[in-house]
Symmetry: C2
Subunit: 581 residues, 2 copies
C-alpha cells in the first residue's frame, strides 16, 4: 500500500487503512535503517504523527519543517520517495535529512538543532508579505527545545504578527535523556494531562510569548492526532498554536524502546573492521588525568556517551556537566570555570563547534583561558552529509589568536596530546575523527609545536616533502610515499601534528624543493593554506591536497575523501606528472 | 572624594556621602566620555546600582559580571582606576569594557550580549567544585535579555545546583528600544510593581527555571538598592535570585535621558573630518531598490539605526524586522524568507556575524539561498577594542561554499554592489567599514567576480602588482604605489573587489613577478592567504600585508592598522628592500 501512496491519496483512506500504512512505514524504516544505518528510534516514534499531518494538511502547499530532521523518514515515504528509500544515506541516494533539492515536500533543510521555529516564522512571514495562504508547521523534539534559538524565535512571534503551528514532540530524549528546567516543565505539563486537569498556570510560559498552548496528547495515537490537528488547522487562521505531544522513542520495536539512546542513530552493519573510537581514548585518558588533577572537569552538550564521557560523568559527577543542546552556553561555562582556575574540557562534534564560534573567539581565546576543546567527528563524517561534515574546523579556528590546534596522527598520539593538555595553560583545540583505524609505528615523544618526521632516512635527499595532519590524511601520505618509493622517488613524510603553531624550525630545515600538504579539511584557510603563506615569498613550490569549494554530500568517508581530492593516488599522480614534466 | 576611593572604604560611608560619590562619578563619566567617546547613557543609568553593589558586596572576593560590559565605568572608578580613567578607550589606556588583565575586580571579560548568566554560572560552579565561598552577581540589560544564551543558561541553573544573583537592569533599550515578548513581560512585571501588587502568576517564568524573583525596584534609588541587595545577600546562601530593577538610561543628563539611543555610545569629538558612513549608503540604496522590487526585505538584530536602516524600516514596515539581539534567529529568518522567494538583507556588524556562524554555513549557504549579508564595521573598528574588531570575517567566510564575498573600494562601489545584489540569486556577503573616507577616481562598472586595475598604464611593465581589497587597504596600496612611482618603481594597483571568487583571469594575466596583497583582516585564512594558495605551485612570489596572530586592542583604527602591519610605509619598505637586495 505504502509503495505507491502519495500525500493526496492518503486523505481518502480510512483510519484502519492509515494504521496499516503506519505499520508498513515502520517496517520499511526498520529494515532499511538496519541495512543502511541511520536514525532509527527518532523515526519510529513519529510515524503516526507524520501520517496524521499528511492526512490533515495539504503538503506541499502547506509547509512542514522538521527540527534537526532526523525524524523525517515517514514524511519521505509519504511524499513520493518510497522507491528510492533503499538508497537513504548512501552516496547519490536520498538524504537522511530534509532536502529542498530532493522534493518539493521538503521546504527547508535542517540538520542542527533548534532552527525549526525560526525557519517556520520566516516562511510564515514571507507568506504574509507575499499575500499567500498556507499553513506552516514545525515539529521540534524536547531535546532541541533546550536550544537558545527557540527562545529567540518565541520572543519574536508577536512582533512578526504571524501564525504557525509548533508541535513539541516530547520523548524525553535529546540523544541522551533531555536535561534542564524546560524539560522538567514539559514533564509537569504532561503530569497535568495525565491527571486530566489542565492547570492554566502551568501553560502560561508559552502563552506569554503569544502561543496558544494545547496538550498533552499521545502522539502515537493516530486517531487522536487526526482529531487534534484538524481542530488546530482551523485555529491557525487566527492564532499560533503549540501542540504538545508525547511519543515513545523507538515505538513498535522493543529493542529500540528499551535503548532509545543507543538506537537514536545506528551505523550500517559492516564487514568486521577493527577500529578503536577516539572517543574511547578521550574517556579513559581524561578519567585517568582527573584522578591526579582535581581541577579537571568536563562539559558536553547532550552527547556525553557518543563523546566517550559516560564513564567520566559517572566517576566524577560533581565535575561533569551536560547542559543539553546548548553549545554556546557550554562554551562560556568552560571559559568561566577556567577563569576561576579549573581545567575544563569541552567535548563536542566538530560540526557543532560552529554553533559557539563567537564564544570560542571572545570568551575562550580573547581571554586566553585554558579550555581544551575536544573536536570529535572532524573531517568527513560520512552518511549524515552536508550538514554534519567536520571539514571546516581547521579553517575557522586557525586564525584565532591564542589558540593552539593539535591534530593527532593516531589514538596513541591523541592520548599524548591529552596528557600534554593537562598542564597546558592556554586555549587548546584537538581535532580528531570518529574511528581510529591505524596505529603508526613511529611514536616520537610529543613536544609542543614540534612535528615528527616519519622517515628520517630520506630527509636529506628527498625532492618532495609531504606534510599531513591527522590520521586519515597521513594514511594517504604514507601510502603515496610508499608507492613513490617503489618508483624510486623519495618523499619525506612529516606528521604535522600541530596546525597552530606551525613548526617553523622544521619548515625552515626542509631540503625538499617541493612541498605537498594533505588534510581532511577545506583548502581555503586550512592547514595547507598556512603552509602556502609560510612559503609564499620563497622559492619553494607547494601543492595542496584538501577539499575544494563545495559542500560535501553523504557517502562513505574514505570514498568521499578520494572523490573530493584527498587520496594517495592524487598525490602519486601529481608527483609522477611533475617528475615526467 | 572619588579620586582615592576604593571598594572597601566605601563601606564606612554614609548614604549622603555615597550619594555625593555617585554624583561625582556621574560627572566624571560624562566629562570623560564627551572627550574620549564611549558608552554614555548606559553608564549614567547604572551609577547608583553599582555604588550599592560595591557597598553591599565584597569585591574582588565576590564576583561581578557586567553583560556586554558597556555599563562598567562606575565599577572601574570604584576599583582603583580613577587616575587612569582619562585614558579610557585610548591606545594603551583603560578599556571601555571589563578586562581581567586590568584589575582583579574584573573577573570575566565581556563585549558581546547575553554571556553574563552563563559566565556567572560557570564561576559559581567552579566555586562549588573548589569548595570556596563567595557571591556571584551578573548584571544584564533588558536588551541582552532577549538573547538565546540567557535561556540556555536559565535552563541549566537547576542542574548545576548553584546559586547566583542576576540583576536585570531594565531600561527599555537594547541600543534601539527593546523589542519582543520578553520585554513586554518585563513591562508587565513593572506595571505590577507600580500598582503595588505582586502578581504571583506573572513571576512564574523565572521561578520555573529555579530563580526566586524579586522586583521591580528603582535602580537609581541608592538607599533602596542598598536595602534590597543587603537582604538578597543573605538569601544567596540558599537560593538563586533575580533582582529586577528599572533604571533611567542616561540618568542625570537631560540630553541623554531624552536621546538614549543616540547617546548609547558616542564618538569622541574630532577635528572636522569629512566622511560618509557606509550605513547611509545602505539605507538609501536599499530603500531605492525596494521601491522597484517588492521582494526586498531587511532584518536587523537591535541596531537598525546604526546600520543605516531607520528610513527603510519607516518606509517599509511590513518588510522590515528587528528581532532584538538575536543574531542566530535573524539569520535563519532571512534564510527561510529567501526559501519562500523573498530577497532578504541581513545587516549586522562584522563582529556579531560570529554569533550566527553555524547558521550562515548551514541555513544560508548549504541551501544556497539568496540572502545578502551586509557586514558593517568590518576591519579594525577602533576604540571598543579586542571584542569588537571586525578583522576575522574574510577568514571565517572565505571557506564557505556557495558564498560570494564582495568588498567595495568606496561608497560608490558599495552602491554598485547593492545594485548587483538585487538580482543576484545566491548567498552574498558585502563587508565594509564604518566610514567612507575617500572616493577613488577610477570607477569601472561592476562585473561579477571581476577586479579592477586602477593604473592600467603600468600594467605591462610593472615588476610589482599590489592586490588590495576594501577602501582602507586600497588607500594604503595607492599611497605606496605613488611613493614608489616617485622612486621610479612601477607598481600595478588592483582593486580586488571580490574576495570570493577570485578573479582568476586577471591573476593569470599578471605580468608582475612579485605580488603584494593588502587587507584589513587577519592573515590566516584571509584574502592574502587565498592568493598565496593560488600561486603556491607557481614561480610568483607573494608578500602579504594583513594582521598577524594577535587580538587587536583599542586605539585609533588608522594607527592600529599601521601598528599591526598594514600600511603604505610597510609596503614601500618591503619593495625598496627587495629592489636593493
Amino acid at each position: 500500500m505504502l509503495e505507491n501512496i502519495n500525500s493526496a491519496q492518503l486523505k481518502s483512506m480510512t483510519v484502519r487503512e492509515l494504521l496499516a500504512l503506519s505499520e508498513e512505514a515502520r517496517e520499511k524504516i526498520t529494515s532499511t535503517v538496519l541495512k543502511n544505518g541511520g536514525h532509527l528510534s527518532s523515526n519510529l516514534g513519529t510515524v503516526e504523527l507524520t501520517v496524521a499531518l499528511h492526512y490533515v494538511f495539504d503538503f506541499p502547499k502547506d509547509k512542514l519543517i522538521f527540527d534537526v530532521g532526523h525524524q523525517c523518514y515517514t514524511h519521505k515515504l509519504l511524499s513520493g520517495r518510497y522507491s528510492k528509500f533503499g538508497s537513504i544515506r548512501q552516496k547519490g541516494g536520498l538524504s537522511g535529512f530534509p532536502k529542498r533539492e530532493e522534493s518539493e515536500y521538503d521546504c527547508y533543510n535542517t540538520g542542527h538543532a533548534g532552527t525549526s521555529v525560526s525557519a517556520a516564522l520566516g516562511i510564515a512571514k514571507a507568506r504574509d508579505i507575499k499575500g499567500e495562504n498556507f499553513n506552516v508547521i514545525a515539529v521540534i523534539g524536547d531535546g532541541s527545545f533546550n536550544n537558545g534559538l527557540v527562545y529567540e524565535a518565541f520572543n519574536s512571534l508577536r512582533l512578526l504578527h504571524t501564525n504557525i503551528l509548533l508541535i513539541i514532540n516530547d520523548n524525553g530524549m535529546s540523544i541522551a535523556p533531555t536535561v534542564g528546567s524546560m524539560h522538567e516543565y514539559l514533564e509537569i505539563l504532561s503530569e497535568d494531562a495525565r491527571q486530566k486537569e489542565k492547570n492554566d498556570r502551568h501553560a502560561k510560559i508559552f502563552e506569554r510569548f503569544g502561543f496558544s498552548y494545547d496538550g498533552v496528547y499521545d502522539g502515537n495515537d493516530l486517531e487522536c492526532m487526526i482529531t487534534k490537528l484538524s481542530e488546530i488547522k482551523e485555529r491557525l487562521k487566527s492564532e499560533s498554536v503549540i501542540l504538545h505531544v508525547v511519543t515513545k522513542k523507538g515505538k513498535g520495536y522493543a529493542f529500540c524502546e528499551e535503548n532509545p539512546e543507543a538506537t537514536h542513530g545506528i551505523a550500517a552493519i559492516k564487514a568486521d573492521e577493527v577500529c578503536t573510537e577516539y572517543s574511547r581514548v578521550l574517556g579513559s585518558k581524561l578519567t585517568e588525568l582527573a584522578a591526579k588533577n582535581s581541577n579537571i572537569c568536563a562539559v558536553t552538550a547532550a552527547m556525553t556517551s557518543s563523546l566517550g564521557l559516560a564513564g567520566f560523568f559517572e566517576k566524577y559527577p560533581n565535575r561533569s556537566v551536560d547542559v543539553g543542546i546548548c553549545e554556546e552556553h557550554a562554551t562560556i561555562l568552560c571559559a568561566a570555570m577556567a577563569a576561576q582556575g579549573l581545567k575544563p574540557y569541552y567535548a563536542v562534534y566538530s560540526t557543532f563547534l560552529q554553533r559557539s564560534y563567537d564564544e570560542i573567539i571572545i570568551d575562550i581565546c580573547s581571554q586566553n583561558l585554558p579550555v581544551t576543546i575536544c573536536a570529535d567527528r572532524a573531517g568527513i563524517s560520512g552518511a549524515d552529509g552536508e550538514t554534519h561534515q567536520g571539514v571546516f574546523d581547521l579553517s575557522f579556528l586557525s586564525m584565532i589568536p591564542n589558540l593552539t590546534i593539535a591534530v593527532p596522527k593516531d589514538i596513541n598520539e591523541f592520548a599524548d596530546m591529552l596528557e600534554m593538555s593537562a598542564t597546558f595553560n592556554a586555549p587548546l583545540a584537538i581535532r580528531y575523527p570518529r574511528e581510529g583505524r591505524r596505529i603508526f609505528k613511529s611514536h616520537a615523544p610529543l613536544e609542543y609545536g614540534k612535528w615528527e618526521i616519519l622517515n628520517k632516512d630520506v630527509a636529506d635527499d628527498a625532492k618532495y616533502a609531504v606534510l599531513a595532519c591527522g590520521e586519515y590524511a597521513l594514511t594517504q601520505a604514507v601510502a603515496a610515499a610508499d608507492e613513490l618509493a617503489a618508483s624510486g622517488v623519495k618523499v619525506e613524510i612529516i606528521n604535522a601534528r600541530f596546525v597552530k603553531p606551525l613548526d617553523g624550525e622544521m619548515l625552515n630545515a626542509l631540503k625538499a624543493e617541493r612541498i605537498i600538504t594533505v588534510e581532511d579539511n577545506m583548502l581555503a584557510g586550512g592547514f595547507g593554506s598556512l603552509i602556502d603563506t609560510y612559503f609564499a615569498d620563497s622559492d619553494k613550490k607547494v601543492k595542496n591536497f584538501a577539499y575544494g569549494d563545495a559542500f560535501i554530500p553523504q557517502g562513505v568517508a574514505s570514498e568521499l575523501m578520494r572523490d573530493f581530492g584527498v587520496s594517495a593516488k592524487a598525490i602519486v599522480d601529481y608527483v609522477l606528472e611533475n617528475e615526467n614534466r
